[in-house]
Symmetry: D2
Subunit: 295 residues, 4 copies
Amino acid sequence: MRVGFVGLGQMGKPMALNLIKGGHQLRVFDLSTNAVSALVDAGAAPASSPADCARDVEAVITMLPNGSIVRKALLGDDGGLTSLPKGAWVIDMSTIHPFESDAIAEEIERKGFPFVDAPVGRTSDHAVRGELLILAGADQATVARLAPLFDCMGSETIVTGARGRGIRVKIVNNFMSIALNALSAEAAVLCEAIDLPLEEALKVMMGTPAGKGHFTTTWPGRVLKGDLSPTFMIELAHKDLGIALDLANQVTVPMPLGAAAREVYSAARAAGRGRQDWSAILEHVRTVAARTDTK
Amino acid sequence: MRVGFVGLGQMGKPMALNLIKGGHQLRVFDLSTNAVSALVDAGAAPASSPADCARDVEAVITMLPNGSIVRKALLGDDGGLTSLPKGAWVIDMSTIHPFESDAIAEEIERKGFPFVDAPVGRTSDHAVRGELLILAGADQATVARLAPLFDCMGSETIVTGARGRGIRVKIVNNFMSIALNALSAEAAVLCEAIDLPLEEALKVMMGTPAGKGHFTTTWPGRVLKGDLSPTFMIELAHKDLGIALDLANQVTVPMPLGAAAREVYSAARAAGRGRQDWSAILEHVRTVAARTDTK
Amino acid sequence: MRVGFVGLGQMGKPMALNLIKGGHQLRVFDLSTNAVSALVDAGAAPASSPADCARDVEAVITMLPNGSIVRKALLGDDGGLTSLPKGAWVIDMSTIHPFESDAIAEEIERKGFPFVDAPVGRTSDHAVRGELLILAGADQATVARLAPLFDCMGSETIVTGARGRGIRVKIVNNFMSIALNALSAEAAVLCEAIDLPLEEALKVMMGTPAGKGHFTTTWPGRVLKGDLSPTFMIELAHKDLGIALDLANQVTVPMPLGAAAREVYSAARAAGRGRQDWSAILEHVRTVAARTDTK
Amino acid sequence: MRVGFVGLGQMGKPMALNLIKGGHQLRVFDLSTNAVSALVDAGAAPASSPADCARDVEAVITMLPNGSIVRKALLGDDGGLTSLPKGAWVIDMSTIHPFESDAIAEEIERKGFPFVDAPVGRTSDHAVRGELLILAGADQATVARLAPLFDCMGSETIVTGARGRGIRVKIVNNFMSIALNALSAEAAVLCEAIDLPLEEALKVMMGTPAGKGHFTTTWPGRVLKGDLSPTFMIELAHKDLGIALDLANQVTVPMPLGAAAREVYSAARAAGRGRQDWSAILEHVRTVAARTDTK
């Protein structure tokens, strides 16, 4: 395919290179002339602007740092949409705010172009090897048509089913993994501070929800099917968190996430959930977040 | 074996029943006469006090709500240690503060008795089925000698290697799983609030550290071997958390753990770790918790 | 003076009315024609756009919900700057992100116009009565020239001394008062949950830093002059927070701010500040926030 | 009066000295013989145990680090109550957990002795000068009878009206002032990070609830009389917190309390309070903490 590629950073550059290797004809744009040169050496045509980059292509791909830059590259005075041929695809692979993505997508669709949000997972190493995870905000048919592109850049494409879901699942997934990283560090440093070898603790935790998570262990049999009868009661979980926090404070391991969690369980107890299953924390958070508009 | 069992609550009762089923001779004590009756019906001898319970046994087991109750049951005026035969084991299976466990253990050891902390994992259903996870604060030889007891109550015994480590790993494991539960709820409710089907998100997350955790994915190849070179930089992780938090605040999904996490990453950036791998958060928390005693 | 006023919301409308009452000639613009009508009834001239509004005036004032709207109103295709007479003032009284304010200001200054950020404090009631607090990002001479306007809208103008400081102090002040409100609620609800009459507690707290704050009590004699010798040690403060948190968790009063504070003190202890004065928390936070760029 | 004084630490020692200066006859006990010697030099009689210390006195005062030490000193085998003359007062001036204080008090009262919790406010400097704030958990008549003691140690005695309220108000007051200290540091460091001179910001904040607190400013006219009509809406406060947090994260000033506060406002918005007055945060926290026992 003929592809315009805007944004040749740490991720964009290897992605574009893999498209060239895959046999696609690329026209590339980036503010950094060095980045452009590297791609030109590999066979790409240089573009002088996003508009120039989108001329005569079948798809334009953006891989940029934030929503306002994506907006400018596509919808600005000199943006891709000013020259993009009718029927060509707009594929934004950047990680941006989902509502900004929605707004950009709607504007592009109003101009008559099909838009797909397709942010990527994994690391720059994966980008180099063409083994990214692609989270396509599109249905099966659309993904099938774009597979020649996606398959050059990634080794797995998730079909989320609808426009906007790619960027949504990206943000939720990153939120969870990034925050979990900080929580894991609190647990690990607590281990070290109480002279418990980390490997010993990891060995145990890998066999429990501590290491395996709750999505496929404690939740499916209980809260996800509406059963809140206790296997482990919220009030006991709350008690154990209190012990862990007191311990951590004695050995001066600050645990801000752990401390926040204790207060969530405390609120769940106040809300009458003390004797419900601990998976009912999901139900509790749902209640807290549920918009009530008359008070 | 002849066993004294103190504490016949939701967990203690099925554990004691399984010891009887396993052929052990039990003398039992609990403040609730109903609980005692149930065990007596199953063949146990009733005791009038912890002291009475520990008379003539080879091991006394406690399964009680907190450290001061354990202390009283073992070391009080009418406690088990007043009558326990020389050489008999003291096994505390309760979940209590590790430092309280240490203090009780040391006092008991000073009186010449061997002490093992052996708290249990899993749920009351597992207790009924004799399928608990037993976290033995003991070495291999000790666990081998107590296996006839442990194997009646649990289906798996972790040998942590030293006294005090059973209760330590219990508290760390519970901390991690309980706090992770609250964090998972934040991610799940965010999904729902932005019209992203939870199953769709879970499908993706089960293939990433969001669902698989960091202990066996991102940490071993990087921070655990001292390599902080980036596959995904802390400053990008920080940026993504900011997007998720802004999104969550727009759709009024309160995320106290997520908000705390963002500030941890912010502190890591301030500490000069912005361009390190995200697994370096472990190193950051280690630094924050490291005692410096001269300032 | 001849003034263009853009943004006639809950605050902007009474502010504009007070300018008219003060004898100024107003041209006004708002997307709501109702809001415009109200001002026209009071003597203002209606404008069809921000550009129209800024025609022929000595100063244009914006009072708008966020930075991108302010940017559009001033610097957009149809923005005030397209028609503003040379030498006229641009005064943004909105509460927006300080860095957005800076960027807008710089662009405006590059076009040759003087810019003042002058956000307001207090409430809509004060706006009606012309008793706002005006936080002028300007020097004394500039404020003197704009006093005829400011004095119609407010009863007090703070001269912060330089462009950008008005909006900065607004954000810091609002941050502090808004977060303090939530912290105060935690303390008050804890009172109620432990049967301590709130008035009784308030009576005590109004005589201590709990009610009077630290800025003028504990800080000036210690941390603000570099003296960290203890009047009340951080490790005792940390201990007391622990008691309060345990108490609150027992009576299920969730205290997320309190819990976060305990971890801050824990980190300060880890950093070797346990025996420093509690005002040294300022020094601790400074250290945590200090950018270190080599790690 | 003849007084037994147990606990001669940083606070207890100057308090005991001031009692001697005030003409009282002291018998003193502490584990540190140095501390005892200092008091003996000043005219006190040394005691060999708490029991010895309480012999023949009209009041026994405890000033000790935590509840279990207070319990042991008063109710232990060698505790003060074993020798205390009938009718003598027990006055605990320590800062301990209120529920531990209650339990100790009840046990003492069951033995027929009057108990007063009278923890102190202010610093060790104030203790030296006899200028402590005494928070007496007692009614007016009791305080009048004990005034000869209190007036030697403190310059102000708050009569809270009932046993248990002294220690309660102490804990609430300390919670509020200690957490507020950490919050104030976040605001101050944010100032410094955005090049806003701290004095400039303090000048402004001392005139607003940021510096004056909410107890006597925004609350009395609104939430404390049940009026939630807005002077400043929760949703605007939430928006401003978001700006402050984004700003702080950009300049890497970690603000864990601020971040927690933003989520509280988010929850309040979800609960339908977005258009209520910001003082309604008190009402929101009340609702979250209100025990609901059927779910």
